[in-house]
Amino acid sequence: MRAEEDFPKGHPARFDYDPESPAAKEWARLHVFPRGEPAYAPDHPRAGADENPGNRIEWRAGVDPENPEYEAFTGRPPDQAAAVAAHNSELAKAAKESPVLEPVIAPEPPKAHPEGEQHAASS
């Protein structure tokens, strides 16, 4: 009769647990996933196909996950983004606040444009 072990070899709760032991490292390889549960278990035929499968990548809006240092939405590299930001900062100094308008009742729209001329762009 074979004795039943309380925890498998390498398990942290086992009486002889040594994190540096081959058994502990193997157990950790199979059970510890600090970056999240993988789509396929270790040693699954597909597990080794991609060291960094997409389901582990954080997809932030507007950010290229392969180039997270690029500016969100524009994809500009950092030096270019900094230059544009500086340029925008200069433009902002010259920009004017919007005028405050007196609320009114919207006027009657002008006479409808004839159907036949509707594709004539205004000047």
Binding site: F73, A92, E97, P103, A106, Q118
Partner: protein, 285 residues
């Protein structure tokens, strides 16, 4: 019915953890317009633009309570509506004329944090814009057309950088009505504003959020659909030079490329503002 729609934005300077009352942008106020409290005024949406996560709180004795009222977490760098039915259904918060809405925000200790309210008025004495509802749009729409403008925002927390709707491309057909279905921005800010005589010189607007392009591309149409009321602004190209687009953002300023999605309307299908377009039901009804 003299209907109006207005986006009111404001900012708080270095609020940090303190819920700080927003300073309205120049020429704006968080006091509900109008004098007749029996006329419907509705908080249709509100949102905030924080560089650092914080809280936004909208309170008034006329709302549920003046302690926490409508309080939401504001995540960093995401100008997302904190409520509003971009999925086609929502409940409008009733507002009352002359009620002074308290809008507070917390966030970073070295930044402008901004917030905005979108308020709809059923019947605002002395002010009226031209708005249609979604069935009217579907019945009378002819062609999609977009306008694209570049707006250089100011860094003061006020609306700024106003440019005419035809400032980049002047292709609108003369004397023709266009419905503004929605819009897009390529840069994050607080709000994109559109002002013109056809909107009663009030500023209609939407969140300046580049992420939610699918929700903002038909923002006004979804507003109208969600609340079952005419909230799709209509302007006539005769007024294009005086129909302007501007942006409110934080102290970083920025240059914004704004696209408005327009639908050309059949001639003569949208009456003047005072006549309005009948709604099937009012918000919250």
């Amino acid at each position: 019915m003299p209907r109006a729609l207005e986006v009111v934005a404001g900012f708080a300077t270095n609020p940090g953890a303190t819920l700080t009352t927003l300073t309205p942008s120049t020429g704006q106020s968080f006091t509900v317009r109008g004098t007749d409290t029996t006329k419907g005024a509705w908080l249709l949406s509100h949102w905030a633009f924080n560089a650092t996560a914080g809280e936004m709180r909208v309170t008034s004795p006329r709302l549920h309570d003046q302690v926490q009222g409508i309080r939401n977490r504001v995540t960093a760098a995401l100008t997302s509506p904190l409520f509003m039915g971009t999925r086609g259904a929502d409940f409008a918060q009733r507002l009352y004329a002359q009620d002074n809405i308290t809008v507070q925000i917390s966030g970073g200790a070295a930044e402008l944090d901004c917030g905005a309210l979108l308020i709809g008025y059923d019947d605002l004495a002395g002010v009226a814009g031209r708005f249609i509802d979604q069935p009217t749009l579907k019945k009378n729409g002819l062609n999609w057309v977009t306008v694209e403008v570049t707006v250089t925002a100011v860094a003061t927390g006020n609306f700024g950088g106003a440019v005419a709707i035809n400032s980049t491309f002047d292709t609108l057909i003369a004397n023709t009505d266009y419905a503004i279905v929605g819009g897009l921005t390529d840069t994050r800010g607080t709000a994109v504003g559109i002002t013109g005589v056809d909107f009663g010189n009030l500023r209609v607007g939407f969140p300046a959020e580049p992420t939610y392009r699918n929700a903002l591309c038909n923002w006004f149409e979804m507003l109208s659909f969600s609340y079952n009321a005419p909230y799709i602004p209509v302007f006539n190209s005769a007024n294009k030079a005086a129909t302007t687009i501007d942006v409110e953002t934080n102290g970083a300023g920025g240059t914004y490329i704004i696209n408005l999605n327009l639908v050309q309307l059949a001639p003569g299908t949208v009456p003047a503002a005072a006549g309005g377009t009948t709604a099937a039901a009012q918000p919250g009804a």
